[in-house]
């Protein structure tokens, strides 16, 4: 408990001291990161073992959020190579997202079918 309070405190301090990078101050980014990890721990420990496979495929789909970065890389028109890398990243991340959410939905429907 006290450990991570300290971590957040550190992150806050870093936030006020750091300089701005790409729109989000590094310290603030660290704060968000640490807090999100704790939110993650809180909710994920409550997921029952029965649903651990859908949890993995579903959280997997969420990690496809890289698609956001990929879209910017593919659409910013920086250079030919950046566009190529970005487009490839859009394809891979979208497979991750669409495949992940759909297969999770397929599995969860199986659990719902016989739940009554």
């Amino acid at each position: 408990m006290t450990d991570w309070m300290g971590l957040i405190l550190f992150a806050e301090q870093a936030a006020s001291a750091s300089d701005k990078v790409s729109g989000l101050p590094l310290g603030l980014a660290i704060t968000i990161f640490v807090l999100a990890v704790f939110v993650g721990f809180e909710i994920i420990t409550k997921v029952p073992p029965t649903l651990h496979t859908p949890l993995m495929s579903g959280s997997n789909a969420i990690s496809g959020i890289t698609v956001v970065g990929a879209i910017i890389a593919a659409g910013a028109g920086h250079s030919l190579w950046a566009t190529i890398l970005g487009t490839l990243a859009v394809v891979l991340a979208t497979i991750n997202v669409v495949g992940g959410f759909l297969v999770t939905n397929r599995m969860l429907n199986m659990f719902r079918r016989k739940s009554n």
Partner: protein, 459 residues
Amino acid sequence: MDKASVIELLYLLASVCFIMGIRGLTHPRTAVRGNAIGALGMLIAVVATLLHQDVIEFTWIIVGLVVGSLIGAVLAVRVRMTAMPQMVALLNGFGGAASVLVAGAELLREPPPPLGDVAVATYASAVIGSVTFWGSLLAFAKLEEYKAFRKPIRYPYLQPINALLGLGALALTVWGVMEPNSIAAYWLVVLIASVLGVTLVNPIGGADMPVVIALLNSYSGLAAAATGFVLGNSVLIISGSLVGASGIILTNIMCKAMNRSMTNVLFGVLQPGEDAPKQDEVYKTVKSASAEEVAMLFDSASRVVIVPGYGMAVAQAQHAVRDMYHLLESRGIEVLFAIHPVAGRMPGHMNVLLAEAEIPYDKLKEMDEINPVFAETDVAVVLGANDVINPLAKTDPQSPIAGMPILEVGKARTVVVIKRSLSPGFAQIPNPLFAAENTLMFFADGKKAVLDLIAALKE
């Protein structure tokens, strides 16, 4: 409100959707909706990004989104439930690779980005993403049981080589951070981390695969979070760390269920103990039974517990098991399923396979819940499980599975073990339960055995 603030708020909304979505997964009743909320969050994030001022050229984005959606949809619809670990491994890998490419593209920006503090994050994306991608591809090949990957490639100095690769990546990272725009350093790090991904997963196999899949799941999240630091993007950081936490929690659960540390799973080699009991000695008193004899046991039973293992899935026996379940229930016998945390090839895999066979999830009991019930069970039917029911885990401190929590099947009045032969499980040790006084061996293929049992019950 300016456009940048709107985008920020939409990202916040997406992050909230992800958190609500995962929270929905805490119960099977709310899970489908939770998953849909998560997907909605993703849609919001994508739309918000399309509004971003940096995005000026849409052709290739649309091409990428369409191609990716098609491939993803085909994969999701066609995958067999038994192959779910491979599917998750593959998707993990794609997520990792996307992070590598995004961070790589960011380095190519014109004018070069003011990297500064986030240079470290750029290289973290490279390392974590590459390890995730190549590690996942290898895990996929192993799980698919492609011939070339059935056995790990053996070479000397395994750990020193891994350490050297790790140090190499670290040294290049330092160089890259000093000279933030060194594109060569970035791709060299990607190359080294790719090799590292392969060498790390190469020696791991069999029952340890669930741990690897869970860990790579965590890495794919951390890679996304690292990319979030590179781009200064809050939604990437939040979702990445959620997934990172999820993977770590599952990895821990798996390790605990095997009573092994993560280091031991990743770097240790499971070896049979020196003075492991000899197979012939242990199996002197094995008794075998026929389908008719087992069916007679059921006739006088009031509670039956079925203990499925991955062997059930290999034999494609889950639908036959469902029929047997219905038949027994129709005769007033209570039927429960005992699920060990490491049964199957990924966390929760066995539950999905049984759910596919339409067995109600409230009949699936976790280890802690079912163990006290065995003492009041008439017949325990073991189908394709071995190491997770081996009493040596409790009695023999020298055993490679010593201390692993097991399903205490032996406490049931009668134990029926359906198995092709007396061959050992992954841990390569004999199982004294098979020779116990109250155990009957039913030697047959899993599916055929259950079908024979159903036929015998109907007579």
